[in-house]
Amino acid sequence: MSEEWTLNVDHIDVYYGAFHALWDLSLEVRKGEIVSLIGANGSGKTTALNTIMGLVHPTKGSIEFSGKRIDGLATYDIVTLGISQVPEGRRIFPDLTVLENLIIGSYTGRARVSKDQMLKRVYSLFPVLEERENQLGGTLSGGEQQMLAIGRALMSNPELILFDEISLGLAPIIVDRLYRTVEQINSEGVTVLFVEQNVRRSLKQAKRAYILKAGRVVLGGNAEDLREEEEVKKAYFGV
């Protein structure tokens, strides 16, 4: 897939049981971009990512990836189409070794052929993972687990990676390093959609961003324009 594509989230409504989580939400991500979703806790950022990933299904509206409807598909089918997620809380497999965690990332057919190549790429981005190749995932530190989760998402050779709150629980210096790697991944051709608690970092790393509030998009645009907006300044203070 080296031609242009778009991820089109079109007026979706999402419910968790009786709770209306997303209201008429639309957003767009184009190939090659780094886009972020900004908002307070509970504003629906993670729900949006999970819906794209097929973990939840919208009751209204549609999601299209490269012209193909994905909103009714199962998660594992969406992965096969080229979208991968670094989930909130990392969720690496604790009783598999680092190497096994990475290998299982290339489970899909499209990824298995390039497994060795991908592994080399992940190791060059995160050398510490190669050092700890045979250690069980559960024994790694928080930062290392986050690297493993990112590496694992890369192994499926995706077009688009959804990053969900990768800074949670980590020291700023480690978060800096992680985001530098995200930039590098993007420069190598992987499109990035990320959710980040820290508004300043969000606008620093993204080219474009959407601001979410109570399950709706209230603003969207280029990161530099957004920095001046009232809503964003409010978000800085968690208002």
Partner: protein, 278 residues
């Protein structure tokens, strides 16, 4: 010595149960009865077609795999995330249905897979070792080796392990978890098929033998611990040795006694089993 060999057989009986519980947290109460299916299948193959029981596994294994795949795929996959009770009830139901089918088709008369070699014994030093016990043990070792390599070296094996640790994350890897679970149940049934034939070669069986073998399977898993193939083997051996010793010291009727005592002790002192993880 005999206990050791018998232990191998018990380990195979326990392996299938352990696999399903370890991966899906599902207690397959019908495990013993499904193994007995294989015994009866081999019996029919032998008595009407003259096919050797072990040879009948060529068909028996795929058939039982398909049955297992169907049970998980069609029945269990719908309910097993709702809690432990629904799958328990389904399995219990299957167990009752099977036992009654066996009763209807083959009467309560005990049957055995009496092939020529099933009655042979070897003399090693002072002991007489029945040939079947040796066969049981070799089969057990092969089965366990196969499972270990499968789980470690193949994509499917790793997918099963991943799905058992975090099914959401497994889906994010592109793994169809429902299909993986059906496959796991199918594999568990393959082991049940093998267990059924070798049990049938070693002991006589009746329609209700499934319950007895289920208890052995439980004992093996409790003693050896979940999530460990080595543990299942050790559990089997402990139970096997216990049975032989118990029979020797207390008399034939007390065979299972020592085994039960050990099970109780493990449950009290170390409930996760000798090699158990979670």
């Amino acid at each position: 010595m005999m206990g050791l060999l018998l232990g191998g057989l018990y380990a195979v009986i326990g392996l299938g149960l352990s696999l399903v519980f370890g991966v899906m947290k599902l207690v397959n109460l019908a495990h013993g009865d499904l193994a007995v299916f294989s015994s009866y299948f081999a019996y029919v193959a032998m008595s009407s077609l003259g096919i050797d029981p072990v040879a009948s596994l060529v068909l028996g294994i795929p058939i039982l795999f398909a049955i297992g795949f169907a049970i998980q795929g069609l029945l269990m996959n719908r309910v097993f995330r709702l809690g432990m009770e629904p799958p328990l009830l389904i399995a219990f139901g299957i167990s009752i249905i099977l036992q009654n089918i066996y009763l209807a088709l083959w009467t309560p008369l005990s049957r055995g897979l009496t092939t020529g070699y099933a009655l042979e014994s070897y003399r090693i030093g002072e002991f007489y070792i029945p040939l079947v016990y040796l066969l049981d043990f070799v089969a057990a070792l092969l089965v366990m080796l196969f499972l270990r390599e499968f789980l470690r070296k193949t994509y499917l094996g790793r997918a099963i392990r991943a799905a058992s640790q975090d099914w959401r994350a497994a889906q994010l890897m592109g793994i169809n978890t429902n299909r993986i679970y059906a496959l796991t149940f199918g594999i568990s049934m393959m082991f049940a098929a093998i267990a059924g034939v070798f049990v049938g070669l070693t002991f006589p069986f009746t329609p209700s033998s499934g319950s007895a073998y289920l208890i052995i399977a439980f004992g093996v898993v409790i003693i050896g611990g979940l999530g460990s193939i080595l543990g299942t083997f050790i559990g089997g051996v402990v139970l096997g040795v216990a049975q032989i010793l118990s029979g020797a010291y207390f008399g034939a009727g007390w065979q299972l006694f020592l085994g039960y005592v050990i099970i109780l002790a493990i449950l009290t002192a170390r409930p996760q089993g000798i090699f158990g993880r979670r």
